[in-house]
């Protein structure tokens, strides 16, 4: 059979494809419906949090920080309760990461504050001596991109039935409504911050990237 295949490239290619596709069909497909179910209490991200998540992705924070607490005592002692599948139901893409150059962040909202994040982004060593994280001062200058965040939220609502605008779930509404809601949500964060230029920008109706990022980090619980 193998000799015959080696003279018939078409059937050879078909054979190879079947053999390599087999594992995917068996391991990846069956679980799709099951594990996509959200855990009770898990909610989709608000527009502001989503804008922050996009900044997290833009800077590839996931290259150094994981968001997956494994069920070991050393990890639950350090980071909090181990992660459950349903908690990630609205994470597109997933951000588990594959390295811990920095600590896990899956429940960072439980033990770090807005104030801490602000200092940490400006100068990591000011709050963690010995830190090798880059400084992210430029996040204090650029405006958060609420348009793209809204576009993403709107898309997942339309295409994947993510339950925005349902009882006990975040409200999305029109872009104007989402923008107003994001502005209000950002206000609570800016209030806890010290940076004067971020505060001034907020008064002028602007939301800086750092505010959105902190909104996202604070939501990780």
């Amino acid at each position: 059979m193998f000799h015959w295949l080696e003279k018939n490239p078409f059937f050879f290619a078909v054979g190879v494809f079947v053999v390599i596709a087999y594992a995917g069909i068996v391991t990846v497909l069956p679980d799709f419906m099951e594990s996509a179910r959200p855990l009770v209490g898990t909610k989709p991200y608000t527009t502001l949090q989503l804008a922050g998540r996009q900044i997290y992705i833009q800077e590839s924070c996931n290259a150094c920080h994981s968001q997956l607490i494994r069920p070991f005592k050393s990890e639950t002692d350090r980071y909090g309760k181990y992660s459950l599948s349903g908690e990630y139901a609205y994470d597109r893409p997933f951000l588990w990461g594959s390295e811990r150059t920095g600590p896990d962040l899956h429940r960072v909202g439980n033990y770090r504050t807005t104030d801490w994040h602000e200092n940490h982004m400006l100068d990591p060593e000011s709050v963690v001596p010995g830190s090798i994280m880059p400084k992210y001062g430029f996040m204090f200058k650029k405006n958060a991109d609420l348009e793209t965040a809204y576009a993403e939220a709107y898309t997942v609502k339309k295409v994947f039935d993510v339950p925005y605008d349902q009882p006990n779930m975040p409200k999305l509404g029109t872009f104007a409504e989402a923008k107003a809601a994001a502005y209000k949500e950002a206000g609570a964060i800016v209030k806890d911050m010290k940076n004067q230029s971020v505060k001034d920008a907020y008064k002028n109706g602007q939301i800086k990237e750092i505010v959105a990022l902190i909104a996202y980090l604070n939501s990780l619980k």
Partner: protein, 487 residues
Amino acid sequence: MQSSNAIQYDYTVAKYFTIATIVFGIVGMTVGVFIAFQLSFPGLNDLFGAYGTFGRLRPLHTDSVIFGFTLSGIWATWYYVGQRVLKVSMAESKFLMFVGKLHFWLYLIGVAAVVVSLIMGITTSKEYAEFEWPIDIAIVIVWVLWGLGIFGLIGIRREKVLYISIWYYIATFLGVAMLYLFNNMEVPTYFVAGMGKWYHSVSMYAGSNDAMVQWWYGHNAVAFVFTVPIIAMIYYFLPKESGQPIFSYKLSLLSFWGLMFVYLWAGGHHLLYSTVPDWVQTMGSIFSIILILPSWGSAINMLLTMKGEWGQLKENPLIKFYVLASTFYMLSTLEGPIQAIKSVNALAHFTNWIPGHVHDGTLGWVGFMIIGALFHMAPRMYKKEIFSKKIVEAQFWVQTTGIVMYFSSMWIAGITQGMMWRATDQYGNLAYSFIDAVEVLHPYYTLRGVGGVFYLVGVFMWAYNMYKTATSSKAIEKEPQYASPMA
């Protein structure tokens, strides 16, 4: 059947990709060395503002080495090997020549777009699949063009039986096509919502499902970019350079079909102790261990090809590259399964032992094989002797030193990290804070960077030697049968 001497092979496209391999090798590895030093000297993050932080450059490093250096190397060898084992010249078909050139130029545009977008922070964050949808589409077109090239050449072949290398090139084409398409399924948000950035998209899969698809892709990108086509190379270049026939046809058969069947199950080992179902994790773990068989099958087949001819190691530095590549392949495919054992993974996962493992494979196996292959091709493509045997020898030792420094420092660093994270004091409390485990790594990070510099210096030596070979080396009249002539 016509004798191969009668056919004038056309190496135009192979030469293009040879240059691309060298250029992207230098770019990707320079970025690699730079980000390695960023971890021990974080001040280096501030040099280029937002565009030079570790987070932005790390995907640039991985992607330019995987899809710049390695892919170019695969294609350079394909456009060389394909013609020779199928006994047909590219020049015989205007269409295939056109497809080949288009393949190269579109690919180059794609790479440029990738570099710019990654520095700008435009990424989907999925490892080795960071590109947004417009680039994904461009990549699919480039890939289809290569497929046209492969099957077009096969269609007009004179040699009826497909040589082993061709099996592996076909598998590379099919495997990457399948993996890439499914992992990159995404919905462009602009077209649904009518606002925001036009290039932004959102993944079709969520959470644990997204993770499963990603690591089914991510691990098998290793399979079908770092393993399968590199085996295609060694099956051609080792017998050619040494003048020895492959040790065993049956072993080639067993290891090829075995690899095809087993490799795709192994992705689950990236997700041990995660929230994907337990049976998927167990499958990933078990199949990773089974994977030793086909991997070692190929490697042993290669090493035994040199049976009775080990003296060639002394005379011919290219044989050194091939033999060391096979050896690193064995090392890496033993180390991987060990890391996929659940209890070992509990310690190793998230640590620097993982990049250590990746790099003994990529630097030792992939890098050495591509360098060795292009050295073999150069005298035949340019009809010149390799410029300097001494430089080839020196390059081999410089780079081998670099690899050893790299993986040994990362092994120690990774195991130290893993041990410190889990260490407890006499009362059962965590013994170290996270930053303790960061600070202790400083010397290892530095040593790794230095190892990277050694390897990079070797790449420059290679580039210089290749450049001099093409431009100012001694011409050869008759194509050498076996060992490449070198001055």
